[in-house]
Structures are given as structure tokens and as C-alpha cells.
Symmetry: C2
Subunit: 244 residues, 2 copies
């Protein structure tokens, strides 16, 4: 089994209103890649947010007392802290200068996905796309590819460092469910569900440097179960979550 | 930037005492892959544990009262529960039939890495290698490759599904530290540390089916910072961990 991951380096800067589909197809053509029905296209949240205008001018934000207190204590920008609150539907942890929040999409992420890097100007930050699954679906239609993953980098409990993961998908099952099948030793694989969309996003992360410049990766050679649904079945329901 | 991931499918079954290095080199030769100084070799924990004899005969285990009670309540094998206790140095969560523990290596994993799948016989389970970093180092010397990652699959808070991650490394920094560098918009990347060894392990997971059969992946084309240390700098210290 062989999988190839290629980064697209000539997409260039994305502005609100830009059409991502044509930009990705042009870059792929220029760089000698054919995007087809067996390609998975992984797109960084940052350019999806930019194209959709999910950029906030921090000068328009009037921070609450809580945001001001927290920001002052931890040396943060109170406008950014307030923006995190506005993007959150629940604060999971708020300690040691770290704000981990659940977004309205059900994603649990540091700063509720608010990001201050790779966007021009100290006064601007990106927020997550309105509906990353819908963004992925539109791009898949546009590109006529097998699947699209909108990805973002995220920290994890217990381990330092960020990994790229899926925040919106189209064209694939988020989970590869192996329950009921047997392993090489003939035993039932009871609990084995693989988060294939996150493994693909992480693989794409290898060619998408965090300093920017390569916001799209093509994955070729991977066989996956096609599906029309989104990420929902991957988001653990509260009653089964031990780390609320 | 292009990264290629290839699974080795002809390694065959591994028994205690088998030499993994020669087995991997032979399989690579047979399958037309050259392993060199720019190759990263990702090896599934399962075959490292098997080769090192890290297999436990459950019939030798006398479960404690706690293991028996818990196992009875959740329909588990009390011998497996007891083995998890013995592999743990701290229980992180113990609820809903899920046991998340910190191992003596400092890894936080479900069942402390005890695994009942892909090992012959209902009465046997594998445990993590004694020192996965040392196992990785020995393999790297043997294979004369750039880096080795011993990987295992693990669940995560908030998201369903397992992803492959690194439990032992040799020849690379676990984290790619971008703090102090600037992004494409000229802003400092303050908090950006990328868990590159976990992204590589996840990428390898794409060619290593959880039902077994392909326990080794080769990664080619990835440029990384070489280092002699192990995984330690990636394991978050307790005082910085919000999910103890």
C-alpha cells in the first residue's frame, strides 16, 4: 500500500471573496498534479476562513470584564480573549493562560479556533468557517475530487505540540469502523474504530508548514469508504466524554 | 513538497526472540524499497513487543478485588484489568468501562497500552516494550536509517476513533519548534510547536491496517531536524497538564 502526499505551494495569498476551487485547480495544474475522483484534498482552515471572510477586525470588539481580567493576568490581548468567548458555546478549561473551548460546531479546541497568525495586521484574527463541512462539500463539488478535508492544527491533552486534524469533511466516513471484523490472529476487533480523517489531516500536516505558504495538500493512493455525511459521528457525545 | 508512505506487507508473523531489523530489511528488499539515511521507519508497537517477548500469559495473573469488581461491572476480563493496573503508575480516568492510565514511560493511554488483539490465543496480551525509545534506537542502528518511530494507536478526549501516535523515537526531535520564527504575514509564531513525530506516526497509520498484516511503514521525502534524544520533551509535565 502506498500513499503520496503533495503540498501545493503556488496558491498564493487568499482574500475575502476569492474562489478557492479555481485557485486550487490552477495551482495543481501549474505544479503538475491531476485532481481526480481518487484524490483527497486537504485544505487549511486558514484559507477557507479568509476566502469566506471569517476575519474579525479586533478594533470592533469591546472586551467584557472577564476577558479584560483574564487577559491582564496572562498577558493576552483582551480583544482576542473576548473573541474566543464569542466563538465558544462552552469553556472546557480556562487555566494557566490556556483557553480550551467547545465551538458551536461541537469542536473542542484551544481558543475556540480563533487564530492570530498568517493573517495580515495586528488587528485581525480569523475564526473558524461558519460550517466547515459545508465549505468542504462546496469545494468537493467544485474540484470534482473524491473527498475534501478542512483541517486545523490543535493541541492535545498530555502531549506537547500541535497536530493537524479534520474540522470539516465531505466525501468520506470520518471513522473507519472495524468492529465485528477479525484481526490476523482471528480475534474479533471489538473496540477498533480508526479516525481516518484525522490520520489523513495529520499526514497532510507533514507538507503544510505552520509558517504558511502551503495551505493545500493532495493525498493519492489511499482507499477509503465514501460517504456523504459530515464529521458528526466523530464528535464524542457529552455523556460518553470523560474529559468534559 | 512530497512525502511518500509505503507499507511493508511481507514481514510475516513475529515471535519472541525474532530480530526485527533483518526482517524489516528483507521485507523492504523483497518489496523494492531502499531504506537509507533519509528514510523514517515507523514500526507498530505490537511487533516490537512480540519480538521483545513483552507478552503476558493471562493465566499467570491473579486479579485483585478491585480488578474483579470493575471487570464484573463492565463485562471485562479481570485478568486484563489487573494487567492494566500493573502496567500503570497512575489511573487518569476509570469510568464507563474505560481505563485510561499513565504508564511508567509517562505515556497516557487507554489500558496503559495493554492489547489483546493481533496476538495468538485468548489467554495472551501484549504490553508496551520495556523502553520503546531504546527499541527505536536499536532498530535505527540496525537499519542504518534516518529515524525510527515505534507507534501505537490511541484514543483521544472529545473525538471518537483511534489515531496512530509515537511512543518511542530515535533520530529526530519529537517537536518541531517554530517559536521565534515568523509566519507568511510577518507575525511571530509565539506558541507554534508541531508534534511532528505524531503527524508522521498518523501518516504511517494510513498504510497500517488495524487488523494487522502491515506492521511497518516507510516515510520518504520528509525533511526533519535530526536529534539523538527521545520522546521526553513531548510528554507534558503534570504542572502544565489541564487534563490530569
Amino acid at each position: 500500500m502506498k500513499v503520496r502526499i503533495s503540498g501545493l505551494a503556488t496558491i498564493g495569498d487568499i482574500q475575502p471573496g476569492d474562489e478557492l476551487g479555481p485557485r486550487i485547480r490552477e495551482a495543481a495544474d501549474r505544479e503538475g498534479h491531476a485532481i481526480g475522483a481518487d484524490s483527497i484534498v486537504v485544505v487549511a482552515q486558514k484559507i477557507v476562513s479568509k476566502a469566506e471572510g471569517a476575519i474579525v477586525d479586533l478594533r470592533t470588539i469591546d472586551p467584557s470584564a472577564l476577558a479584560k481580567t483574564w487577559a491582564a493576568h496572562w498577558g493576552r490581548d483582551p480583544r482576542l480573549v473576548e473573541l474566543v468567548f464569542r466563538q465558544a458555546r462552552r469553556i472546557v478549561r480556562m487555566d494557566q493562560g490556556v483557553l480550551i473551548a467547545e465551538t458551536r460546531h461541537g469542536l473542542v479546541m484551544a481558543n475556540a479556533g480563533v487564530d492570530h497568525s498568517n493573517v495580515a495586521g495586528e488587528d485581525f484574527a480569523t475564526v473558524l468557517p461558519d460550517d466547515p463541512g459545508r465549505s468542504a462539500c462546496a469545494l468537493r463539488t467544485d474540484l470534482q475530487c473524491g473527498a475534501v478535508i478542512v483541517s486545523d492544527t490543535a493541541g492535545r491533552p498530555w502531549r506537547e505540540g500541535l497536530v493537524n486534524l479534520a474540522i470539516g469533511i465531505s466525501g468520506m466516513e470520518p471513522l473507519e469502523d472495524l468492529r465485528g471484523s477479525t484481526d490476523c490472529a482471528g480475534k474479533q476487533l471489538y473496540g477498533t474504530v480508526v479516525a481516518q480523517c484525522d490520520e489523513i489531516a495529520a499526514a497532510a500536516g507533514l507538507v503544510m508548514p505552520k509558517a504558511g505558504g502551503i495551505p493545500v495538500a493532495l493525498i493519492e493512493g489511499y482507499k477509503w469508504k465514501r460517504a456523504e455525511g459530515g464529521l458528526q459521528s466523530m464528535l464524542r457525545p457529552p455523556e460518553r466524554d470523560l474529559f468534559r
